[in-house]
């Protein structure tokens, strides 16, 4: 089929593509021009073009900053712990929800589990201070009323880590179940019926039917998550964090905010951003390659 005929026949499909493609061009490829800032002594009155080239000077400066390594370590640490805790949580929840047989109760639980996802971090931050505060937090009021010492959930860095992770699970686990639940509806019911005939227990069915069916979804999500290892949202560590736990709560995104937006050193901020993007790409490709080799599952 020659191209003209082909295009005439399928033009509707290509027309549909215009919106998403222009989205990527305008919002994802267009801004890449700004990467130039990392290699220039950016003066925002002169614009990107007018600023002078400085080669890799800004990279040297960033790699010599002790705060850079601290925030890099924290980013990886928080993300890794988050992966350990927050990644399996929606899986368990989804399987439990799937096993529920009473329809109204299942729907109700799902709704209640989704709600935290729709609350902004600023509000969650406020709630966290009310609940976990040392002096007048809800939990510590109970703890101290039993005569124990107050637990510094927010001001001791190790306790803070637990708070940070727990809040993350609370906020995201319910919403995360959606993808798994969608995948679960695709399982052939006959498999379960056959298992029932064979007298398989409930756990046995979960282990041998449900989980294997979810494997591609799990692997895909894991790869995506690994790609985000080096990137970290700004709001959660910034809002849940505070000065007392800065040793752990200071991450690359807050670091970029501080030197870029607050101090106006856009060149350094861009360098960190570019570094994140490159390392992120390496993580995604690495995870994808490994999974292809080991499990024959991949997204590319």
């Amino acid at each position: 089929m020659n191209l003209a005929v082909y295009l005439r026949r399928y033009w509707q499909l290509y027309a549909l593509l215009i919106l998403p493609v222009s989205y990527f061009i305008i919002f994802k490829y267009g801004p890449m021009y700004g990467i130039l800032i990392a290699f220039k002594d950016f003066n925002f009155f002169q614009g990107i073009n007018g600023s002078e080239w400085i080669g890799f000077d800004a990279f040297r400066e960033v790699f010599a900053m002790s705060d850079f390594y601290k925030t890099l370590r924290n980013t990886l640490m928080l993300n890794f712990l988050d992966l350990l805790v927050s990644f399996p949580a929606p899986l368990f929840l989804a399987i439990m929800l799937y096993e529920l047989k009473i329809v109204w109760f299942k729907k109700l639980s799902q709704t209640i589990l989704y709600i935290p996802h729709f609350i902004s971090w600023v509000i969650i931050g406020g709630i966290v201070y009310q609940v976990f505060g040392t002096q007048s937090g809800m939990i510590n009021n109970i703890v101290t009323s039993f005569g124990f010492d107050a637990i510094p959930f927010l001001t001791d860095k190790n306790d803070w880590l637990i708070t940070y992770l727990a809040v993350g699970v609370w906020q995201s686990a319910g919403w995360g179940t959606i993808i798994y639940l969608a995948a679960l509806t695709g399982i052939n019911k006959e498999l379960f019926e056959a298992a029932d005939v064979d007298g398989a227990s409930r756990l046995r069915k979960i282990w041998n039917i449900t989980l294997p069916s979810l494997k591609p979804t799990i692997v895909t999500l894991l790869i995506i998550n690994l790609g985000h290892m080096i990137a970290i949202g700004f709001e959660r560590p910034y809002i849940i964090g505070n000065t007392a736990v800065r040793d752990y709560s200071d991450v690359l995104s807050t670091f970029v905010y501080r030197i870029g937006i607050e101090s106006g050193q856009y060149t350094l901020a861009t360098v960190v951003g570019l570094f994140q993007a490159v390392v992120g790409l390496v993580f995604v490709l690495g995870a994808n390659y490994t999974s292809k080799k080991l499990a024959d599952q991949s997204i590319m």
């Binding site: 003066n43 925002f44 009155f45 002169q46 614009g47 990107i48 073009n49 007018g50 900053m65 002790s66 705060d67 201070y129 505060g133 040392t134 002096q135 007048s136 107050a150 927010l154 001001t155 505070n242 000065t243 007392a244 800065r246 501080r258 030197i259 937006i261 607050e262 101090s263 106006g264 050193q265 856009y266």
Partner: protein
């Protein structure tokens, strides 16, 4: 004919494409042009200014002025459309054929927002401002600001006289007037406050020194005179300067002029005594208070004083320091406290004492906002005229106080706000402080009058204590250090180091007493490595050159 028409169509298509390309190019090129030499840009500005001043052409100029948005506009008005904006338009704009447009910037993120505005180039207001001197220096250094020397000479005689040389000196960068700092009416910063009713109940005198204060705080903790059920917070603390600065500065030992110039670290707009002798002792005292449970336990979470305010108004706090007038405003801290606990009484006191028996505390530089005109502005002349208008006649008085006879009455030259007025009249000047940008506080000619004006505008029952607080905040003050040149390292590292300072205070205060020394050493080392050393070196050099 048909052919010709087709030819035109083709031509117009090509034209359209070319136009599009040129627009794209000029969009990029425009920025490059901005970077041209000073001479060029100045010539351009003059031309534009001439055009702006040419009324004969009848073309209206739009003057864009930044305004802080605190989200407190009363119903019926907005931050860009209210009584004061109309007053400005009617009395300055319309007679001069200028349309004054206000561009809101949220108060809490002024620097961040301003950076974004400045970077956008085309959309930036003609008058912008910031409290942060580092931001001002950075803009000046990067060549983004209009030199105002000539314009002020030509179009701002009233403004120049109003601001005065001391204040204008703060707006100079390498000898050029790149900013017009607002003039500050009252230089006092901090006072301290104690629960007088607690003292009376326990039969204690007002503590006069830091040592006596310590004993008093301990007694507050043991006796719990406010019957808070063990929740008493003898010393209210937060992570805001108003709470920790008076305490820390009082531990600084007597210093030479050289030490004061070189060892002070200016972060943002404030001077901090981080390297001055005695700073460590101050932190140690905080550590002691914290470990003995005499201080707000969650002070490290409280950067905006919200928690402190809550604790004070609930009647849990025995002693605290704060911005001198803050507790006394109608419906604020003291009033709320008395609503919750009718017998509560607060006294303004001056307690923290240094080794010489004085009560040192920092005072403000005689400046408020740094008013700047971006180089890209085409209305520099109109902008200076606007500020000059504000400084002339009784325009400032009007903006700050409203309409005489309706909003206020003059008593001994001091405008007294009328108490029994409708909300509509009261709300006219709800954001006078943010509109009267050439002045910080009410200006009545001399400091005593300015201070008395503050006092008289407080609720009557709090005036005596306000007067005391305002005299506390002005005694034994330490003036900010002003070099004849900007310290570049401060502009570069200031913001990051300000965060580090908070970290130093929090970590050393909350460290176990036996780990205080090691925590302090490692934090200070980190501070020096992140830019503290660079600031110190530059200040030393600047001092040497200044003394030559």
């Amino acid at each position: 004919m048909v052919k010709a028409a087709r030819g035109t169509m083709k031509a117009s298509k090509i034209l359209a494409v070319t136009l599009g390309c040129t627009m794209l190019l000029s969009a990029c090129g425009g920025n490059a042009n901005n970077g041209g030499t000073n001479a060029n840009a100045n010539a351009g500005a003059n031309e534009n200014a001439a055009a702006g001043g040419n009324k004969a052409s009848g073309k209206q100029v739009t003057l864009k002025v930044e305004v802080f948005d605190r989200g407190n506009s009363p119903a019926g008005s907005t931050i860009t459309n209210n009584y004061l904006t109309k007053y400005v338009q009617d009395n300055f704009g319309t007679p001069n054929n200028i349309k004054v447009e206000f561009v809101p910037v949220p108060r809490s993120e002024e620097v961040q927002k301003l950076n974004v505005l400045m970077a956008s180039g085309s959309d930036v207001p003609d008058i912008v401002f910031t409290y942060d001197s580092g931001t001002f220096y950075r803009y000046a250094q990067q060549g983004g600001l209009t030199d105002l020397g000539e314009l002020l000479e030509q179009h701002g005689p009233n403004l120049k006289q109003f601001l005065g040389e001391d204040t204008l000196a703060y707006g100079q960068y390498e000898g050029k007037q790149f900013a017009l700092p607002a003039k500050r009416a009252h230089l006092g910063k901090y006072s301290s406050f104690i629960r007088q009713d607690w003292l009376d109940k326990l039969g204690l005198p007002v503590p006069k020194t830091t040592d006596e204060l310590y004993t008093t705080l301990k007694t507050f903790k043991e006796k719990d005179p406010g019957q808070t059920g063990g929740k008493v917070i003898p010393l209210g603390m937060s992570l805001a300067p108003a709470q920790f600065e008076p305490l820390l500065w009082s531990f600084i030992k007597p210093v030479t002029e050289e030490q004061r110039y070189t060892l002070t670290q200016q972060l943002g707009s404030n001077d901090y005594p981080i390297l001055l002798p005695g700073f460590k002792d101050g932190l140690q005292f905080m550590n002691k208070l914290y470990s003995e449970g005499l201080m707000s336990a969650d002070f490290s979470l409280d950067e905006d004083k919200k928690k402190l305010n809550e604790d004070v108004t609930k009647g849990l706090v025995g002693f605290f320091s704060e911005d001198d007038m803050n507790p006394f405003y109608a419906d604020l801290m003291y009033a709320t406290l008395q609503k919750n606990i009718p017998d509560a009484k607060i006294s303004s006191v001056d307690v923290y004492t240094d080794s010489e028996g004085k009560h040192p505390k920092p005072e403000y530089a005689p400046v408020g906002l740094y008013l700047m005109i971006p180089k890209s502005s085409k209305n520099a002349e109109a902008a200076v005229k606007y500020l000059d208008w504000m400084a002339s006649g009784d325009n400032l008085l009007h903006i700050q106080n409203g309409v005489e006879g309706e909003n206020y009455t003059l008593e001994n030259g001091i405008p007294m706000a009328k108490a029994d007025v409708t909300d509509e009249i009261k709300n006219r000047i709800y954001n006078w402080g943010d509109m009267a940008i050439i002045s910080n506080g009410k200006q009545l000619g001399d400091t005593e009058k300015n201070v008395e004006a503050y006092v008289l505008n407080m609720p009557e029952q709090y005036r005596e204590e306000t007067r005391k607080a305002l005299s506390v905040s002005r005694s034994d003050t330490i003036k900010p250090v002003l070099f004849d040149r900007p310290i570049e390292a401060q502009a570069k590292y200031g913001t990051a180091l300000r965060d580090k300072l908070n970290e130093i205070i929090v970590k050393t205060t909350m460290a176990k007493p036996d780990q205080f020394d090691s925590t302090y050493e490692s934090m200070l080392k980190d501070y020096m490595a992140t830019g503290g050393q660079a600031i110190l070196d530059e200040r030393k050099k600047a001092y040497e050159e200044m003394k030559k």
